[in-house]
């Protein structure tokens, strides 16, 4: 039978009483698949701070109970024959002008073909778009197609991302390795050596994107696999008394905390320039280069580094 839970949700008026009654009548709804991690909206709405509440980021298209596998399989076959040419193999629209069904208002509001069937039956004229012809399909076939469409919508990922398609081979190595070698000799060789610390970087980090992120961000940065990050060190010169040196634990406008060689920590209240605080962050050299790179510089150096095996 139809998953009535989903019907009620779509209608926007799912009451406790209904849910309990329908769940008791039929099979309990399948647990919803994750529609993207909770809090993914963080990027869209400023992820500075935790995601609130305990609810997963699920929408009706991902909460619904799918039709039987046999219906979906039949719907897929019918889709391939009747719909694919215009709406695309992945439902995201096709060369013949059919709209993307994964973000279509009709397809998202449709439950079991009741909104899709009249359009397939009668066709649809939309100004500025290729007209949808009327297709003489039986209602049961259109319902099967609708169930197939919903089964693909179900697999959409978070923040409106489409379902994962077949793997695409992407070539990130578009740079000129010789130009990268020259850049390395000019800008990097004061700290790095192609025969020393970088000698096998292309082997140690075989994934090109990871390699590029690692060197642009600086060793020990995000994505780095080169062992322990080099610590940030600090030298503190109080108004009176000896200098203190060690690993920087934290610094803000009001306090500086240093980890000493003996494993203890020491903190100093800050008041403007007192005490004097000198921080040495090995990543500063990389950070300060960030505004100077062209994208070509980056791609050239990456093309060079992959040759260091």
């Amino acid at each position: 039978m139809r998953p009535r839970i989903a019907v009620a949700v779509a209608a926007g008026v799912l009451f406790v009483g209904i849910a309990v009654r329908l769940t008791a009548q039929g099979a309990p709804p399948a647990p919803p698949a994750p529609a993207g991690a909770a809090g993914q909206g963080a990027a869209a709405q400023g992820g500075r701070g935790r995601a609130g509440g305990g609810a997963p980021a699920t929408f009706p298209a991902q909460q619904r109970q799918l039709a039987d596998a046999a219906v979906i399989t039949r719907g897929k076959a019918l889709y391939e024959i009747n719909c694919r040419a215009c709406h695309g193999a992945d439902l995201r629209g096709g060369d013949a002008g059919g709209p993307n069904l994964l973000r279509s208002q009709v397809a998202l509001n449709d439950q079991h073909g009741e909104l899709i069937y009249p359009i397939v039956r009668d066709g649809k004229q939309t100004p500025g778009q290729t007209a949808m012809p009327a297709l003489g399909l039986p209602e049961a076939d259109v319902v099967a197609i609708a169930e197939y469409v919903h089964s693909i919508q179900f697999t959409a990922r978070g923040q409106g991302s489409p379902p994962a398609g077949p793997p695409v081979v992407l070539n990130l190595l578009v740079g000129d390795a010789n130009a990268g070698k020259a850049y390395f000799a000019t800008k990097c060789s004061a700290c790095h050596s192609a025969t020393g610390d970088m000698a096998t970087i292309g082997t140690r980090i075989p994934d090109v994107m990871t390699l590029q992120n690692t060197w642009v961000g600086g060793a020990g940065g995000r994505g780095g696999r080169g062992g322990q990050p080099t610590p940030v060190t600090v030298t503190i010169t109080p108004a009176s008394g000896p200098k203190v040196e060690g690993r920087l634990v934290r610094v803000d406008d009001f306090i500086v905390i240093v980890a000493l060689a003996d494993g203890s920590t020491k903190s100093f209240r800050r008041d403007g320039d007192v005490p004097k605080v000198d921080i040495k962050d090995p990543r500063d050299a990389h950070r300060n280069l960030l505004p100077t790179y062209t994208d070509k510089d980056i791609h050239d150096v990456t093309a060079y580094l992959v040759t260091l095996k």
């Binding site: 609130g52 509440g53 980021a57 995201r92 990456t302």
Partner: protein, 579 residues
């Protein structure tokens, strides 16, 4: 009370079929059914907060999202000032607990009232997640109104004691945050992640009614703090999946919709359609309205920012400027008709929403008094425009390392460099995905004439992972690598020129929104867990308390002649005062 509520809603079980036919915005132009609650017939349209009070300069209360309707977040209170701020100490701490079974919280469990439960979900989601305050807290007549997704609390502003708690059983949706409530006389309004505008009796927390404001099927989710202007309740909503953005106005008494304004062209002949390749692209073009705007009573203009165009990172299917996404818009609040617009991010391809709250500024430029509005956009650019006409006045780059500009138009907009869109081998982009700044609000001081904003100078490598010529969907089709930052600053900008007056570097990062006061003090969080006060004239730190990273923007109010400074850290409110 809970039982009565269920019975009442059960009596409306025949509604679903009707609802589907009527639909919510995004589906059809018709408005959705207003569902009455237990307090539907309790009078409250007099007394309480007079909406005209929102026009007054901000002093003892904090009656709307930004304090007043200017967006300045500038309080006239002076008890806490540059000299006295060092004496600020803790007045009270209030911890709030979300969910149906909260039954306590701010009152520390002593005599805490029972939670009032509403909502159309089953209760399976969001019941027991930690509260997280990421929006404004209203303060009117000694009562605070606090929100977290699905939850509203009323607390005593004197000691944080809980007066009532309302919990909304959600159907799901993106629970990223809630930006606060609004008040009209004795009625309170807030939005839910599953897209209802809910009205409560502010005195008791009992529900008056709820109405669906956007279509959950289309993957809208709602976070905005409603804004009350006279007899309008303005609500926006959010969406990450290629759906049109809109702002709506509702009647505070009845919940009936007064008007809807779409931020993208929805029909043939609509203005702005020439900036899209097709109506189909425009109607899926985004431009969500998820942060409150400001209001100019003289021109009746409600001025607000819009979010990014969609698909977010793959602009191949939406060539053109994509109006009115990432734009500052002046709208007649009584009619919902656009008066003017200025696009603050042309053809955005970086998810740099421009929804942040703008700020009204009155200033003299070239000897001429001007009515202006300024905004610091997520994309690293600062703009000032004439708020009467929309005429451009200032464009300046305030993000020190921002690198995506191709050229500036004579009309003030900045054309983006297409080479800084996501590419397969990676494009080095500053700012990062989250922007130079984000939704946490900026502030303006009438003493210094400066516009204050947080500035984050990070870099991303932005990779295109879906080179499909149709473009991706939503925020898909890319991979983002965060490479580090050249620093976080508290930055003061002269809105008349766009020049930077000063920058205070946060040694350990910045964070949260800002508050300015007539005591010439700025309040801000930093990235090291400090809540701090700064000299508004030069950015010098004056006071701090290490309470943790703040999750909303600081506010101030006065009760019993005592100025309080209020801020949230997740589920805990901290109020400071002098004794």
């Amino acid at each position: 009370m809970t039982i009565k509520h269920v019975l009442l809603t059960m009596s409306l079980m025949l509604v679903p079929a009707l609802m589907l036919a009527q639909g919510a915005p995004g589906t059809s132009p018709n408005e959705a059914k207003v569902v009455p609650g237990p307090s539907a017939n309790t009078p409250g349209a007099t007394g309480g907060l007079d909406p005209k009070d929102l026009y007054k300069p901000l002093t003892d209360s904090w009656p709307t999202y930004s304090g007043d309707l200017t967006g300045q977040r500038y309080s006239r209170l002076t008890q806490v000032n540059q000299t006295t701020v060092k004496n600020l100490s803790l007045a009270w701490i209030g911890r709030i607990t979300s969910g149906a079974a909260a039954g306590g919280g701010g009152g520390r469990g002593i005599g805490a009232p029972q939670t009032i439960v509403g909502g159309e979900g089953t209760g399976e989601f969001g019941n027991g997640g930690a509260a997280n305050v990421k929006g404004a807290i209203l303060q009117v007549d000694g009562t605070l109104y606090v929100t977290s997704p699905d939850n509203v609390w009323a607390l005593d502003a004197r000691d944080g004691r809980e007066l009532w708690h309302y919990f909304w059983k959600t159907k799901g949706g993106t629970h990223i945050g809630n930006r606060g409530a609004a008040l009209w006389h004795n009625y309170l309004f807030f939005e839910t992640p599953d897209n209802f505008l809910v009205s409560l009796d502010a005195r008791t927390g009992q529900e008056r009614w709820h109405v669906e404001i956007s279509d959950f099927n289309q993957q809208y989710f709602s976070t905005m703090a409603p804004i009350v202007i006279d007899n309008h309740v303005l609500v926006g909503t959010g969406n990450d999946m290629d759906s049109p953005g809109f702002l709506q106005s509702y009647d505070p008494e009845t919940g009936k919709r007064q008007w809807i304004f779409y931020t993208v062209p929805m029909n043939a002949g609509d203005p702005g359609l020439e900036t899209w390749p097709s109506l189909e692209a425009a109607r899926h073009g985004g431009g969500q309205v998820w942060i409150p705007g400001v209001f100019d009573p003289e021109t009746r203009a409600y001025i607000f920012g819009t979010g990014n165009p969609t698909p977010g990172y793959t602009g191949v299917g939406r060539k053109g400027d994509n109006l009115y996404t990432c734009s500052l818009i002046g709208l007649n609040v009584d009619t919902g008709k656009m008066m003017w617009h200025f696009q603050t991010s042309v053809h955005d391809t970086h998810d740099w929403d421009s929804a942040q709250t703008p700020i009204l500024v009155d200033a003299t430029i070239n000897g001429r008094p001007r009515k202006l509005v300024s905004t610091a956009a997520r994309n690293g650019y600062f703009y000032t425009v004439d708020r009467v006409t929309g005429e451009h006045v200032v464009t300046s780059k305030y993000g020190s390392t921002t690198n995506w500009e191709l050229k500036r138009r004579p009309s003030g907009e900045v054309d983006p460099n297409p080479e800084k869109e996501a590419t397969i081998p990676g494009a080095l982009v500053s700012p990062v995905e989250g922007g130079v700044t984000n939704w946490p609000p900026a502030a303006y001081s009438q003493d210094t004439g400066y516009f204050y904003v947080h500035e984050h100078n990070g870099f991303n490598l932005l990779y295109l992972t879906d080179p499909d010529p149709r473009g991706s969907m939503g925020l898909g089709g890319k991979t983002v690598a965060n490479l580090g930052s050249l620093g976080d600053y508290l930055t003061a900008i002269d809105p008349k020129t766009g020049n930077i007056a000063w920058r205070h570097k946060f040694p350990g990062g910045g964070g949260g929104g800002l508050l300015a006061t007539a005591g010439k003090v700025l309040f801000s969080g930093d990235g090291s867990g400090n809540f701090a006060a700064f000299d508004a004239t030069n950015g010098k730190p004056l006071w701090h308390s290490r309470i943790g990273n703040i999750s909303n923007a600081p506010q101030t109010y006065s009760v019993d002649g005592k100025q309080h400074v209020l801020v949230a850290v997740g589920d805990t409110l901290y109020a400071f005062a002098m004794y």
